[in-house]
Amino acid sequence: MSGAGHDPAVLDKLCPMHLLLSASGRIRHAGPTIQKLRPQAPLAGRRFLDTVTVKRPRGIAGMEDLRRAAGVKLHLAFRDAPRTELKGLLVPLGDRRLIVNLSFGISIFDGVQDYALTNADFAATDLAIEMLYLMEAKSAAMEASRRLNLRLQEARIAAEEQAFTDTLTGLKNRRALNAVLERLITAGEGFAVMHVDLDYFKAVNDRLGHAAGDHVLQVVARIMQQETRSSDMVVRLGGDEFTVVLPDVRSEGILRGIGQRIIDRLEEPIHFKGEVCKVSASIGTVWIQRGDRRSRDVVLANADAALYASKHAGRARHTFFDPALRARGGMVAAPVEKGGG
């Protein structure tokens, strides 16, 4: 053989990680970058198979095995620490000498760190630098995106806290209730507030767990929206407490009808994963007449008083507020009998 293949200076430029092996498998020359991986002593003079182990193809014990692996992708690793893994390609020269060109493959990221390599250690045509650049650029971009996501997550939590919606049921929440009541009271309009408290809900939660409880709350929410008018606002105050704000009520009869339908529908069995959940509801209602300006706290306290009267009178009842209820400290008053009214 003659020409460039034998000139170490040429190969050092084109393949700075190549090794030239003698016919007997001794390293005759090492490219400048592969030499940087073993800075203590020159690689030239050492036996190739004592320096690296061939992991694949398997079963390479001597030079004749190695020769047969010419042209095949070799998986190699240094025998001494750091045991950097390398990819290799072996090409025999005509005179039984061998050229092994090496590269880091995917271990490039550890390789450049372990050996403090610079751009100059790679051939200009080698994509290693671009790969390192890309990894570093992408990592920086990912980190920036991760920080953005964290901030967005925080903003989402803050927005949820300010939101008017109950996330479990999709109903309005207490914040929304307060806003609507303020608006109705300020406008001096007539409206009714109907507190609806589930009966036996705790038993469902205790017996079948929170998933069942959540399911019941979602079904209840749906029923309450179906049984009220589109102009009414259904609110989940928290736990198993609900409230309906009903603007523009013309008669007590309308309120009784809605209350009764809610109780009847809620008493229908609710199925959850093969189990049957049974709840009912107690209702307390306050009806504010047009021009009857009371504060929000008073309106809600009166609805509470009516609700407690229903609870105390046995469950599944609907009580209308009457000033006597509060005078008696929220104790039993004449509730509307179930099925009556």
């Binding site: 990221f109 550890d110 390789g111 450049v112 760190q113 372990d114 403090a116 390599l117 610079t118 751009n119 100059a120 630098i129 390192l132 650049y133 890309l134 570093e136 650029a137 992408k138 920086a140 971009a141 920036a144 995106s145 953005l148 901030r151």
Partner: protein, 194 residues
């Protein structure tokens, strides 16, 4: 314009003049927020408005501000990522200059949304260089001048830089490489973790 550019201007300003004065800039620029998000995109008219507000609040010319922003991007501790990514461009400063034509493409590899204006390096008959910067943003050439000045320091090269004015939407820089290895420069190892 990509948020990274706006955010860089904000970071430069806040690092040097403080958060409180930045609120003045945001108000003067007509922003309804104070914090730019690096990974979001903003309408193109925002960046010139912010730069104009920065100049007005500081009472400094645009050219100076842009050059400072460019230097800040490379030299500011904590902005190590930019310096390192630029250093991937070449072994020496002249090598780095030759890599500038690829800068917009390299940038897009990292962030597909970030479109930097094209730049073109020309070798002049006297052996020196000109850099033609397309500058949709007025003063972009000055920003590049700040980047080059800081990168020259980083490589340890001694250079003279001159802005040759703006015409037809492009700004030209004259780069005179006085001495390639004037000082040690800063080390750059491929594997260092920024």
């Amino acid at each position: 314009m990509h948020g990274l550019i706006n955010r860089s201007i904000q970071n430069y300003f806040c690092a040097n003049y403080g958060q409180r004065l930045w609120a003045d800039v945001a108000a003067r620029a007509g922003l309804d927020f104070t914090e730019f998000e690096a990974m979001l995109t903003y309408p193109d008219h925002v960046t010139p408005a912010v730069l104009e507000a920065v100049c007005a609040v500081l009472d400094r010319p645009l050219a100076e501000v842009m050059e400072d922003v460019g230097t800040f991007l490379v030299a500011q501790p904590g902005y190590e990522a930019v310096r390192r990514l630029l250093r991937f461009g070449g072994v020496s400063f002249s090598d780095f200059l030759q890599s500038l034509d690829d800068l917009p493409d390299r940038t897009r590899l990292a962030l597909s949304e970030l479109h930097l204006p094209p730049v073109e390096l020309r070798e002049d008959p006297d052996g020196q260089y000109s850099l033609i910067c397309e500058a949709p943003l007025v003063g972009y050439g000055y920003l590049m001048m700040g980047v080059l000045r800081a990168m020259a320091d980083d490589y340890g090269a001694l250079v003279l830089l001159e802005h040759c004015g703006r015409s037809e939407g492009a700004e030209a820089l004259k780069i005179i490489l006085v001495e390639a290895e004037f000082s040690e420069g800063r080390r750059f190892e491929l594997g260092a973790r920024a």
